[in-house]
Subunit: 529 residues, 2 copies
C-alpha cells in the first residue's frame, strides 16, 4: 500500500457485454458489442469482459472479429466457468472455447459457498477445490492472466468462512492474477463487504477485486467499501445493466473514486467523456438512460424548485456537488409549475438578454406554461417548443408556414403489407402547396408530406430529419382514448432539438411536434432564435 492514496490506481472491469446482457430488455448484436467496446476503449476502461465463448456462436464471432480491431486503452477478457466435475481441464469443452477466444486475460468463475457446491454442482467440497486449482493452473500454463471470480463469496463466507477462504486460496496458489470477491446475490451490506474484503486482503495477499449487484440498492457503496478495504480491481457495468436489479454502476463508481476519494481510474482528460459514453451505450442498447442516474443522467444536475434555482445562480456549490462539466454533463433549469420565476427568467434571457426581472410578460408566460401543463404538455425535455412559446409571448415569432389541412388514409387487408397515405396543404403568405406522400404508418406519411410541402418554400428543410420519436400516455386511466404526449427529436446535421405535442389523437400530437420542429429550424435560420 502506498502512503498517498492520490496516486493509487483502481482497475475497472466492465461486464456490460457479459453480465449486463442478462438484464431485462437487453439484447446485443455482434455489431452493438463492437460499438460498445470502442466506446469503453475511448473512455479508458482497462478491462472489458466481452463475452462467454461457450454461450453461443455470437460471442465466438465477436472474439474473432475483435482480432483485427486494435484497442488503445482496453484489454478484452473472455469469460467462462471452471472445468466440469470429474473431468481433466484439457478435456473440458468450456475451457477449450475459453482458450480459443485468444485473449491474454480470461475470467473464470468458481463456487465459494459450500451449499452451492453440494446442491447445484452436486459434488464434494474437495472436488470443487480441485476444479478451481486445475482450471487456473491450466490457463496459466497456456500463458493466460487469470481473473478468478469467487461467485457468492460473501454468502459463502457468512456460512462457512474457512471453506470460502480455501477456495480463493486455491485460485491464488494456482497462479490467479487477481481474485475477485463476488456478491452474486447482491444483498451483502457495505459494512460486511468492507470487513470481509479487509480480511481477505490481509490473509490472501496479492491483488483482490470486487464484483457487486444492486439487490439492496448498495452496489456502488459496497464496491467503494471494498476499495477502502484494499480491493484494487472493481467489476461492474457502465450504466448498471445486469440481471434482476443490475450490476454495480461503473459510471457512478468511476467519478466517485476519482473525484471524491482521490484514486485514479482513467486519465484526467478521459473523465469528461463520462456522460457521452453512458448515453452512447444506452443508445446502442436501445434503453432510455434513466434521467436521475448519478453524474450522467440528464436530470443529475437539473433544478426545479424556485428557491434552489435562485441559490444555484448565486453560487453553484450551494446545490451542486461538482461542476457538471467535469463529467461532461450540464446544468438544466427545469421549467414547470413548481419552478419559480428565476428558472423562467433564465430561459427568457437566453432569447432576450435585456429582459427585466419584473416584466409582466414573464408572468404571462408562466400562466401559459401552467395551462399547457394541465393539458399534458411538458417543457422540461422539449426546450425547442418552450423557446417558440416564449418567442410568441415576446411578439417576435413570425410563423413561417401554416398547416391548413391534413388527411390520412390507411387500409389493410388481412396480412398484406400496405402503406398509409397523407395529404397536406401548407400556406405561406399568399402561396400554398398541397401535396401527398406515403409512409410506413400515418405518422411517417404525415411527416414526409409536411416536410415535402414546406421544403418547396424553405429548401433548408431538406436537411432536416427526425432522429427520435417517443410516445407517452399522459392519463393512463382511459388507455387508448387517453391523452398522449409525443416528443420528437430532430436534427439538421449540426444541431439537435426536441419538440412536444399532446392530444388525445396520436397523429395530431405528432403533427404538433413536427410543426414545432420545422418552425424551430426556420426561426433559428432567420435569426429570431
Amino acid at each position: 500500500m502506498q502512503a498517498n492514496p492520490q496516486s493509487q490506481r483502481v482497475w475497472l472491469c466492465d461486464s456490460s457485454l457479459r453480465d449486463g446482457s442478462q438484464g431485462k430488455q437487453i439484447a446485443f448484436s455482434v455489431a452493438d458489442k463492437i460499438d460498445i467496446i470502442r466506446a469503453l476503449d475511448e473512455q479508458g476502461i482497462p478491462f472489458i469482459e466481452a463475452g462467454n465463448p461457450s454461450a453461443g456462436p455470437k460471442d465466438v464471432q465477436l472474439f474473432e472479429r475483435m482480432r483485427s480491431i486494435p484497442l488503445q486503452n482496453s484489454r478484452l477478457v473472455a469469460f467462462g466457468a471452471t472445468r466440469r466435475k470429474n473431468c481433466r481441464p484439457q478435456d473440458d469443452v468450456g475451457l477449450q472455447a475459453l482458450l480459443a477466444a485468444g485473449t491474454e486475460y480470461v475470467t473464470v468463475f468458481g463456487k465459494s459457498w459450500d451449499m452451492q457446491v453440494d446442491q447445484v454442482l452436486r459434488t464434494t467440497l474437495e472436488e470443487n477445490l480441485a476444479m478451481i486449482s486445475d482450471t487456473v493452473a491450466n490457463l496459466v500454463a497456456q500463458g493466460r492472466q487469470v481473473l478468478y471470480d469467487a461467485e457468492h463469496f460473501f454468502d459463502g463466507y457468512r456460512h462457512n468462512p474457512t471453506y470460502a477462504m480455501q477456495t480463493v486460496r486455491a485460485a491464488r496458489q494456482a497462479g490467479a492474477t487477481c481474485v475477485i470477491l463476488c456478491d452474486t446475490n447482491g444483498a451483502a451490506l457495505p459494512a460486511e463487504v468492507g470487513a470481509v474484503t479487509a480480511q481477505v486482503v490481509r490473509q490472501l495477499g496479492g491483488e483482490v477485486g470486487i464484483h457487486c449487484h444492486d439487490d439492496i440498492g448498495c452496489a456502488v457503496a459496497a464496491s467503494l467499501a471494498a476499495v477502502e478495504a484494499g480491493a484494487r480491481h472493481v467489476q461492474g457495468t457502465f450504466v448498471g445493466y445486469g440481471e434482476r436489479c443490475g450490476n454495480a454502476n461503473l459510471s457512478t463508481i468511476l467519478p466517485v473514486l476519482q473525484l471524491k476519494m482521490g484514486y485514479s481510474c482513467v486519465a484526467p482528460q478521459q473523465l469528461p467523456l463520462l456522460t457521452g459514453t453512458a448515453r452512447h451505450i444506452a443508445d446502442i442498447s436501445n434503453v432510455i438512460l434513466r434521467s436521475s442516474l448519478p453524474f450522467v443522467g440528464s436530470g443529475a444536475f437539473s433544478h426545479k424548485a424556485g428557491m434552489h434555482v435562485d441559490a444555484v445562480h448565486k453560487n453553484s456549490q450551494t446545490f451542486e456537488h461538482i461542476d457538471p462539466g467535469q463529467v461532461g454533463n450540464e446544468r438544466h433549469i427545469l421549467i414547470s409549475e413548481v419552478g419559480g420565476k428565476a428558472a423562467l427568467l433564465h430561459s427568457v434571457k437566453k432569447i432576450q438578454p435585456d429582459i427585466k426581472k419584473d416584466d409582466p410578460v414573464i408572468e404571462q408566460i408562466r400562466e401559459t406554461i401552467k395551462k399547457k401543463e394541465m393539458e399534458g404538455y411538458q417543457y422540461e425535455s422539449a426546450e425547442a417548443s418552450l423557446k417558440l412559446l416564449i418567442l410568441g409571448h415576446l411578439k417576435r415569432l413570425k410563423p413561417h408556414f401554416k398547416l391548413d389541412m391534413y388527411r390520412i388514409m390507411g387500409e389493410q387487408n388481412s396480412n398484406i403489407f400496405s402503406l398509409s397515405t397523407a395529404i397536406v396543404k401548407v400556406t405561406v403568405g399568399d402561396g400554398w402547396e398541397m401535396t401527398a406522400d406515403e409512409g410506413k404508418g400515418p405518422v411517417n406519411a404525415l411527416d414526409k408530406a409536411t416536410r415535402k410541402a414546406v421544403t418547396k418554400f424553405y429548401p433548408a428543410i431538406q436537411k432536416v430529419r427526425l432522429i427520435d420519436y417517443k410516445v407517452r400516455v399522459v392519463d393512463q386511466n382511459t388507455a387508448s382514448a387517453a391523452r398522449v404526449r409525443v416528443l420528437i427529436e430532430t436534427s439538421d446535421g449540426e444541431e439537435t432539438w426536441t419538440t412536444v405535442g399532446t392530444s388525445r389523437d396520436i397523429i395530431k400530437a405528432s403533427l404538433r411536434a413536427i410543426v414545432d420542429s420545422l418552425e424551430y429550424k426556420l426561426s433559428r435560420d432567420d435569426g429570431s432564435l
Copy 2:
C-alpha cells in the same frame, strides 16, 4: 440504546409529496396527494411530510382536506423554513402558514453551512443561530413537535464543524423533538455520514435523524450507515423521487432495515404490502416504476440466464437473497434468446404440465421466439402473447375470430377538433360482422370497432377494457419510419394481462396487440389457457 437491536424501532418519514415533487416529470394534483397519503398510511409509514403551506394554495388546500380524512398509522407533517432574517417569528408569514396547517408535527429547515449563511441568506452566523432558536421555540410554544432539518449538514460539518454543531445544538436547546442531518447535495460518502452521525449522536444526545440524496448513488447506504451510528429517524421518498438524482428510496431502506439488519419499521404484516405500495404510488405519479428497483421492481426477482434459472429451480436461495413474497413481489422467468431451455420449459409447463424436457416442440418454440425477437418482439413483459404463441405450437390454439379487414379515416381541418373513424370486418366460422366506430385518434377508433365486432359473437368481451398502452421505437435510427413495439395491458376486472405487437406502422402494431389481448381472454374463458 437497547441491548437487542431486534426490538429497536426506526421511524420512517416519507417526503414524496414535498421533496419528491421536485423530481423531473412529477406533478401531483391534490387528489393524487391524498391517494398517496392513503397508500403510505396503509403501508404503516409513521410520518408523511405532505407539503409546504407557504409554497402555494394546493398545499394549503391539501392540509384543509386532510382534516376530515382519518389516518390509521401515519401522522401528517407540514414543512417550512426558519423565520426570515431580522424578523420576529410571530411576524413571519411562512411560520404563520406552517402553524395554520394545523398538524401536530412540523418540519423546519435551517442552514448548517457557514458559506450558505453568508452567500445565500446573506446574514451573520449569529443571526442564523437566532433564526433557528426563535423558530423552533416559537413552534414548540404553540404546541408543535418540531423535526429540525439541518440542511447541508455534512458539507457544513466538513468546512466548519464547530459552527455546524452550534446550529443543531440551537435547535435541540429550543426544544426540537428530532434533529435530522441532511446531505442536501447528496455527495457525502457513507463512511463520512456514519462517522459524522456518530459524533452528533454522542455530542448532542436525543433523537437524531438522517436525510440523504442520491447524487453519488449512495443514498440508501448512507442512510443505513447513519442508522448503524445511532440515527433512529430516516427521511426519504417511497420510490426515490426527488430533485436531480432523487432522494433515499424508502422502499429499499425499509426491507433492508427490517429483514437484513433486524430493526423494526412497520408491522410484520405490513411488509408484504411493499411492492403494491410502490407500484400504486408510481401509478398515481404516472411514472413507470423502474423494473430494476430493489425489492419492488418487476425485474427485482427475474432470471434470464439459462444457468441461473436452472439453479433457482434447484434451490431459490442460490440466486435470490429473500423470498420475493416477503415484500409482495414475485419471481419471473424471462423468456429471451439468452434464456436457456429451463426458463422456456417452466413457461410451457404452465400450459401443459406433462410436457417432456426433450419434446422437440420446445426447440421449435425457441426458434420462433428468436425469429420474433429479431423483428422487435419482446415477450419478457408480454406473457399473454407468449402463452398464445406456445399454445399455437402445441396445436391447441383455436383462434376465436379473424380480423379480415380494417380501414381508418382521419381528417383534420386547421384546429377544429375531429374524430378518427375505423371500419373493421371480423369473421367467426361462417358468420361475419362488419362495423365501424369513431374515437379520439385511429388506435382508439380501431380498438372500439374491433371490440364491438367481436362482442357480437362473444358477449364476455364487453367487460374487457384497455388499461395501459405503451409505445416504444425499436430501431431509433429511422425515427418516424422506425419499427415500433406496442405493449397493451388489458383487464376484465378480475385478471390483467399484457400483449405485444410490432410493426413499422403504429396502427398495425397496436392492432396486433389488441387482437392478442382479446384472443387471450377468449382462450382463458374456454379453458384452453
